[in-house]
Symmetry: C2
Subunit: 481 residues, 2 copies
């Protein structure tokens, strides 16, 4: 039986201005987690959420995470956990979002004050945090308010987890989640997880995201003389670490993105016919890519190849060199110690340890070929795993039906090239399916100047989140993995 | 007939404390040319010189150079020109030095106040500018004072050129020198030039320097997307300028310093048997080099090879990359535009234009091999020519005899790997032989913390400068080129 959503949808439309006021109040709080001096504003934002959630009838707790690592006198902002409903007969959905935001200054190039929600004639609502991630977080609150107004019962139990340090590496969150997912923990009863903290692939068609690439980040340090040298005095007499480094970095990947490290490409899961068939229907064009890049310097010529390269193949990027001359102008220095930085975006079935092994072996072998007296040290800076969920799980099929209902179209099933580490934490801690259900669009400029959320995405997105909960309640359980 | 120098030498010894007081007074004036706020101190230092030179009986002029380029309200410090003697029967020697100094702050790591001359028990006189270049400049003044005291006539006419912007690129000096060397100019009558602004190869044995390498400095700019990209989102879809750059930079030179650009090594003048014979006697060891480097990561294994590599062969150094990630830590950026910087130290018979041609051709060809859609722009940032004088000229043989007289040893004939652009300006403007006659030793730490000049180098060096003028007056003219 299809859920009865008309009353709920009607109330969302009626309450639209109230929901926008809620977003306006949230954007006005500059909850920038990277700025220690603004920590009280991050905490104020958490209090705002606690008060709103309590008013809506939730059980709410602000859970402390202790001091920020390395800063014993600076407490981390609390994780806000909340529960709405505890009916054993209903499924329980755990949702995640974050209430902190990226830094923003008017003088960075914003057309409006970043902490005043400014709505233009096309309904674009500008403000820091509008799309990342205050809009989606408040979407869940809007769902509760519209259900109350409609007199419609929420068909699931809702657990919420809203953190305040996402833009600064989610300090302390992993351990917290693991603990609360254990027996007796706040999230113990979760049957599935939904995260709304990413974006549509384009601007018109919603998507459900079921995969993310991982990232292994490496340093190649090459060291020779004890201090920087003058190239006039010592050029020609001392072996130069920078000469060795560019030669080693030049062996990692070619212009078309093909990784040259033996063994790495061999770890990649082959493309199945079933997977191949998915790409054709995705709403994306090479023009979209050219527009994002501001150039036509693409590695591939077709949409399908591009999406596969972004989602399901590894890539290697050389990010830069630490220790060498990096300013404008001319300096005749021979840098004594240089550190090249590169990373590999990983995909199924690459194993992080085996990738490290292949990288270390290759870099050492290429360095050895140079016959250099300099010292090499290659190391992993950090690694985050890739993630792929089953888009056939009831969590996804419910979301797909909700998109069809609200937007009149079946969503694209997408993966992303970047990583959202909390996704994997939730999957591992709960052992349940995790769905990424974005609210904003590709043009929202998260992390950039003039961040915005379209009114349509916010209001229809609120309908979507609510509808998703109704379809979740009705999906058959057979697709449980 | 050997010059009679005993009275002069005796007076230098007698006046030693007076000369050290003169250096103390000069070091106390922080004439840092790079610091606009200290420009009055640079001017005060010029006035100090004018007064001293006048007291010693010179004709002196402080010649303005106009405003500093790009700073219309900041006048450049004057060039101090002075003349002692105008006897048509005598040779005329033009000497150059500079009275400005490098920046220095106690907190940079100085053991003593950088602007207070501090003399330790070994006679090391610490202070900014002590060796670079106030000691040598005052050496010429000391020569005049000791001659007066000895009642010895100066055997040559002496022209002096002391500038105040050497440590900031000698702004305005080139045109000034060219003009004053023309008919009717202050330097018109110069028969030879002597510059005391470099250092002995080691600490014990004086040297005469007859050659410098040139320097051609290049930028390789590679540009792709319109703005920096996130490697998660775009890695694998956009061709990366940094990938192309490291591959191109990796083709320029190998670990042992062999330049890989076709045509460049072929331009180098072959080593003659006569030249080869010079290196063996030079007072220098591989241990000296290892000590300077703080490591044993040398390209060559012998003294001779090392000196030839430093003095008479070209070298190529990769200095760094502008536009890429250069800070500590990890950043997953794909830089949109990167600029690699490298330079080639040039030697006889390399022609600057032909070097450029070979570099541009090679870089473009290596980039083309990559098949990249990114844009390449390779350009010359600046070029300074190499310089080699004839060490058989009377200017050098006179200096050699003076060294033998003062230090009891024949000087090493050396070249330097770096450049001193004013050397070539004087050679071209006067058309006469230019001699580099250093006063300080290799351990003086010019441009670094704890700069010093040894008392021995200053006092015996004053004797050397005076003795040089006497031998100059007596050398036969046949070795006139």
């Amino acid at each position: 039986m299809a859920p009865q959503l008309d009353n709920y949808f009607k109330q969302v439309d009626t309450l639209a201005e109230t929901f926008i006021d809620r977003l306006r109040a949230a954007v006005a709080i500059p909850s920038i987690s990277a700025d220690d001096a603004l920590r009280p504003e991050v905490v104020r934002m958490s209090s705002f959420l606690v008060k709103e959630l309590e008013t809506l009838g939730c059980t709410v707790e602000a859970r402390p995470l202790g001091p920020q690592p390395g800063k014993p006198h600076l407490p981390l902002p609390p994780v806000i956990v909340a529960r709405y409903g505890s009916d054993k007969a209903k499924r329980t959905i755990l949702v995640y979002g974050h209430y902190d935001v990226q830094p923003a200054l008017k003088e960075d190039g914003w057309n409006t004050d970043p902490f005043t929600l400014s709505i233009d004639e096309q309904g674009r609502m500008y403000g820091r945090g509008s799309t990342d991630d205050k809009g989606p977080v408040l979407g869940w609150l809007n769902v509760l308010q519209a259900h109350k107004a409609a007199g419609t019962e929420l068909p699931v139990n809702l657990l919420m987890c809203f953190e305040g340090m996402e833009e600064y590496g989610s300090e302390g969150l992993d351990d917290f989640i693991k603990q609360e997912c254990q027996k007796g923990g706040f999230f113990e009863e979760a049957d599935a997880v939904c995260i709304s903290d990413n974006y549509w692939l384009g601007t018109q068609k919603p998507c459900l995201t079921y995969g993310l690439r991982g990232c292994n980040y490496y340093s190649v340090e090459i060291e020779g003389p004890a201090q920087d040298l003058h190239s006039g005095v010592f050029g020609g007499t001392a072996q130069e670490p920078m000469t060795d480094l560019v030669r080693v970095l030049g062996t990692l990947v070619n212009t078309d993105g093909k990784i040259q490290i033996p063994g790495v490409n061999e770890m990649v899961a082959p493309v199945t016919e079933e997977e191949k068939a998915l790409y054709g229907a995705i709403s994306y064009t090479m023009d979209d890519l050219h527009e994002s890049l501001g150039s036509q310097t693409t590695m591939q010529d077709s949409k399908e190849q591009t999406l596969m390269a972004r989602w399901r193949y590894p890539t290697l990027s050389v990010h830069g060199v630490e220790g060498a001359f990096s300013a404008p102008g001319a300096k005749t220095v021979i840098p004594a110690k240089v550190i090249g930085k590169f990373s590999i975006r990983t995909v199924p079935d690459m194993e992080s340890d085996k990738v490290d092994e292949a990288v270390f072996k290759h870099v050492r072998s290429e360095f050895q070929k140079l016959g250099s007296k300099n010292k090499l040290n290659v190391s992993l800076q950090h690694a985050g795993p890739w993630w792929v969920a089953s888009p056939k799980h009831w969590n996804f099929s419910a979301a797909g039906k909700a998109v069809q209902k609200v937007f009149g179209v079946a969503p694209d099933l997408t993966r992303e090239g970047g990583s959202i580490p909390v996704t994997i934490t939730f999957e591992q801690a709960t052992g349940k399916n995790v769905l990424l259900l974005p609210m904003g669009s590709s043009t929202d400029a998260a992390h950039s100047v003039n961040e915005k959320l379209d009114r349509r995405n916010y209001i229809e997105g609120t309908k979507l989140l609510g509808a998703y909960l109704h379809y979740v309640a009705e999906e058959p359980m057979e697709n449980g993995r």
